[in-house]
């Protein structure tokens, strides 16, 4: 099976999929790891490669891209339905 997932940094909690993934589809990483998808995931979207608690930061590029608005299990699709942005340095 060819690699169809990209883990950009070992610290990341999400992986990018390189092809559309079906429910129970497998996402194969460079390091040999396999994630079984719990959702249908469109091309170039993100799948959780570890469990993320509600309120926890979501990590990509070894940096925070936002926080989980609900708890996310490994294998779930990660997108606007379950993560949101953290406004930094904003005077409200």
């Amino acid at each position: 099976m060819n690699k169809n997932g990209v883990l950009l940094d070992i610290e990341d909690s999400v992986v990018i999929v390189l092809e559309p993934i079906e429910v129970n589809g497998k996402v194969q990483l460079d390091n040999g790891g396999i994630i079984v998808s719990k959702n249908k995931i469109p091309f170039a979207h993100k799948i959780a490669c570890k469990d993320i608690d509600e309120g926890d930061e979501v990590i990509k590029y070894n940096s925070s891209i936002g926080y989980a608005t609900k708890s996310i299990k490994k294998g779930e699709w990660v997108h606007v339905h379950n993560i949101d942005s953290v406004g930094k340095g904003v005077v409200e």
Binding site: F43, A44, K60, G66
Partner: protein, 388 residues
């Protein structure tokens, strides 16, 4: 990658070097667009810098004046004709004088003084025909790559833009900076969330403070306008392409800047005084961003896309880079380099080298896809106030 430190360019009176040798017509105000169109219809190859600005706005007056001067004086132009109406907020003479000051051959026509639209167009046609003949006598000379300024732009991004296309552009940015030249990061909106990465990259405290302050101001403005939705100030296509937050977009966007320090902070369209990686304040909206980059004097730009975007810029070579092979295969006629090959056996360095070779052939005269397709569009400048 080993390359010569020189290229064959068109040296201008102020020492800057063009990679094209064209004639431009720039209106001082949108009301002169019809005349500018007429001139450009009649004389093949003349570059039409028509735009909608020049009147009806005050806060941006100086910024727009400077940007129009910067565009008209871009070293890719041998000469520029300014066409004013006569009653606009931005004085046509100011644009004319500003362009002339850089040494660019420049002429001015004012519709209200030159006999109306038909007569002005007729005079304009004669002027640009003369300039075209003059430009033919400019020989290309061997010039150092340190004269090159490359604008860095991403538009219609997807979640792979920051993984393939932008880091490859970063390799090319490191290459030109390593040869004493410059590249310009911009799109302040797409810096929101990347502050931690950027602050480590600024050469001086002054550059860092200016950059962080401007990002913070921009973030506050997005919150004022959009409230809680500000965190998703990304386009619907970005989201369909897998990007979820502005932070995710920003962290991918800054990869275009490679690994060298940011040496100068520029206002929108401002001419740089230093060589190296520069930052220019500006919006994320691609066509306004490109206008600012070329107003600084950049002679060429990279433009990455994950969703696909055909737009170029009048008179300027824009190298389009796709982040994935799906979009490349769908829009081959619009894309110069496919960074999606990184998932098909090529390395980031391989694509970086393809980018560098592409820059070298484009500055040597090879047309980019957007030049071939004449995807010039309309010049659009960064604006933030309502018109009156």
């Amino acid at each position: 990658m080993k390359t010569s430190n020189f290229f064959m360019g068109y040296k201008r009176p102020d020492g800057r070097v063009g990679v094209r040798n064209q004639i431009a017509v720039v209106p001082a105000v949108g009301c002169a667009n019809g005349v500018v169109d007429e001139i450009c219809r009649e004389v093949e190859g003349v570059i039409n810098l028509k735009h909608q600005h020049g009147c009806g706005r005050m806060p941006e007056k100086q910024m727009h004046t400077d940007a129009l001067i910067g565009l008209g004086a871009n070293p890719n132009f041998y000469g520029t004709l300014v066409v004013g109406l006569g009653c606009e907020v931005i004085p046509p003479t100011e644009i004319y004088e500003g362009i002339k000051k850089s040494g660019t051959r420049c002429e001015l026509l004012v519709i209200q003084e030159d006999g109306g639209s038909r007569k002005t167009a007729k005079k304009g046609i004669e002027i640009v025909k003369t300039m075209i003949e003059e430009a033919k006598s400019v020989e290309r000379t061997e010039e150092p790559l340190s004269k090159l300024i490359i604008g860095l732009e991403c538009g219609g991004s997807d979640a792979l833009s920051g993984v393939t296309a932008n880091p490859s552009i970063g390799k090319a940015s490191d290459w030109i900076v390593g040869r004493g030249g410059s590249s310009i990061l911009t799109e302040t909106t797409e810096m929101i969330g990347a502050e931690d990465v950027l602050k480590e990259r600024c050469l001086t405290d002054e550059v860092r403070d200016k950059l962080l302050n401007r990002i913070s101001e921009t973030e506050s403005q997005t919150f004022d306008l959009l409230g809680k939705g500000a965190g998703r100030i990304i386009s619907p296509g970005n989201m369909e392409g897998g990007m979820s937050t502005i932070q995710e977009k920003s962290l991918g966007c800054v990869k275009k800047g490679g690994s060298t320090p940011i040496v100068e902070f520029l206002e929108y369209g401002q001419k740089p005084t230093k060589n190296g990686l520069l930052f220019m304040d500006g919006p994320g909206y691609d066509i306004e961003s490109l206008a600012g980059l070329f107003a600084t004097g950049a002679q060429i730009a990279f433009f990455s896309s994950g969703r696909g975007n055909p737009i170029g810029f009048p008179g300027m070579p824009v190298i389009k880079v796709s982040s994935n092979s799906n979009v490349y295969n769908k829009m081959k006629d619009d894309i110069d380099v496919n960074a999606g090959e990184i998932f098909e056996g090529k390395t980031l360095d391989d694509i970086g080298n393809i980018m560098i070779n592409k820059v070298l052939s484009v500055i040597d005269g090879e047309e980019t896809k957007s030049e071939i397709n004449k995807q010039n569009g309309v010049v659009s400048l960064y604006s933030y106030s309502r018109s009156f």
